[in-house]
Point group: C2
């Protein structure tokens, strides 16, 4: 298996991203093609036939308008990396670049799965039970229709079964109350679509999402992104309150050290959960979005997510499932 | 000063709510009128001329359709309590009942402030700096226009100045990125309205909300409610992870006890922040929404919020400010 890693476009220098790719190659036995500036990458690679370079030095930055940049910067690591996947020379693409640009390059380069109007970014949250919950969409689409959300539900279910290995995923609609009449117009309309969806358990409020009661939670990308960032804020303020409690009481200062490292690990996990590698579901290929702040560990994790998606033949699974489900949406609509 | 307390409609029995009212009367020196079932309330009240009963035993439950229940149940604590405020016999109304019903009763009973299309519920979040940030709307309106959000901004600013005593509130729009082109259609349109708003600092992502960088954050009620509940989830999963770390390492079990109580207090504060008392801004009177789960302490806190709003003459302040600001919105629209 070969995975293309975009070494440009994130907040960290290429060397940090390359290091993540090397860690992953070592840990998971995958081949890695490093897309970016050959001059920067070459000195960092050991002599190993499974590691290669795709020279594509143009950078698409966070400030670039996504669609335009993708059309214009033909020699960017993003555009050329995706092309490798389309040609079948690589199995998946992992990038810490501008999310909008990764999405645009994937849409243009790989195309949509037939029957899917909009791809969605899926990401996992930790829960108190140790299980994880998949939230889709967490930022690809800021304005959605009920049909979009229904399709996110279908794709999320396929991912939960195929990659997360949950046999019968419980699926819920992210909402501000558990009662069926609650919510905004979009949610109310979507609920009608989902009533007969396999495993649909109704609404889930974000505070209950962390209790492990559901496996897949569906929302529009604006709400999903707000949800993740607010949860992250809740984690941060709690760890911060605790840290000051620990440092203010000298009695506990030293004794609490292991707790502090535990907390730091947990906080990192929340970040990993958020952006360690979020698959873009609905395009005809595997694209994994990594956070712009990704360090080597995060990149390593994102490559594992890519490998799992390839291993379970994710795109084919979505294609075959969607074919059936889209027919039923059309009947409802 | 007299405040009407709705003793019916929350999840807790009337006795718990009454206890909260007595605590507040004692702590803040306000008169309290207990609206509800006289038979239940009377035995709980000490002989004190500042405490009175409004016999209004009909209950509006969480299941009732708000507007219809308010029209039909004329003898409910909610409808009759609000009437007392409208007649000027009481200064504010505090209720742990169905939020939709409190909103409907306030709208019907008190009317809207001229120039305000939709009232919004404002609530405070703690930050790592110890300051608080006001978020409006956290659940009154699930579908909003840019005009609604602009009006929330105006009212939030008045509240921050008058009640929170922030001389020059920094105001931001809740969004999924800091860049001005980010967001859904509603947010982008609202941003254009807010560009020249006094103290406007741009977008705020929910994870940055807890850093104390802004004083007032504006969003639609669906997003605001999601934001609060997700933050609460982040707090809950962090405290839960910590609790298990503390109990699994026997070495730290006893020594960590003060930490555990610190965490519990913090978690309670997050709940208090959420619903200890959230003013419904935009109606012609003071209505404070308390969470359905409110216990005596939460009710006491909600009554303090009501008192602060009365003390600063909040309704009059909003009326005079809105008059000017609405004119500028109209020009923009």
């Amino acid at each position: 298996m070969n995975i293309v890693l975009d070494t440009l476009g994130g907040d960290n220098p290429a060397a940090e991203i390359v290091r993540g790719g090397l860690l992953a190659a070592d840990a998971y036995g995958v081949g890695v093609t490093f897309a970016g500036d050959e001059q920067l990458i070459k000195p960092l690679l050991p002599d190993n036939p499974k590691l290669s370079i795709l020279h594509a030095p143009e950078v698409i930055s966070m400030e670039d308008a996504p669609a335009e940049a993708v059309r214009r910067k033909k020699n960017s690591s993003l555009v050329r990396g995706i092309r490798l996947v389309r040609k079948g020379e690589s199995h998946a693409f992992v990038s810490p670049a501008n999310t909008g640009a990764v999405m645009a390059a994937s849409l243009f380069g790989l195309g949509r799965i037939k029957g899917i109007e909009r791809p969605g970014i899926a990401a996992v949250l930790p829960t108190t039970t140790g299980k994880r919950v998949l939230v889709i969409d967490v930022g690809a689409n800021t304005d959605c229709t009920a049909e979009n959300l229904f399709q996110f539900a279908m794709m999320g279910r396929v991912y939960a079964r195929g990659v997360m290995e949950v046999a019968q995923p419980r699926l819920a609609l992210v909402n501000i109350g558990s009662e069926s009449h609650k919510g905004n117009e979009l949610v109310k309309k979507t609920r009608a679509y989902l009533e007969s969806f396999p495993g649909f358990v109704g609404n889930v409020e974000p505070n209950h999402l962390f209790g492990g009661e559901v496996d897949v939670a569906v929302c529009d990308g604006f709400v999903g992104n707000i949800l993740f960032k607010a949860a992250e804020g809740g984690v941060a303020i709690t760890t911060s309150a605790l840290r000051s409690a620990l440092t203010s009481q000298s009695l506990y200062k030293l004794r609490a050290l292991p707790l502090r490292s535990g907390l730091r690990r947990f906080r990192e996990e929340m970040n990993l959960a958020r952006f360690g590698g979020a698959p873009l579901l609905g395009v005809r290929g595997i694209t994994i979005v990594a956070h712009g702040h990704s360090d080597a560990q995060t990149i390593k994790n994102a490559i594992r997510v890519a490998k799992d998606a390839v291993d379970c033949n994710l795109v084919h699974r979505i294609e075959s499932r969607v074919h059936e489900d889209v027919k039923s949406t059309t009947t409802l609509a």
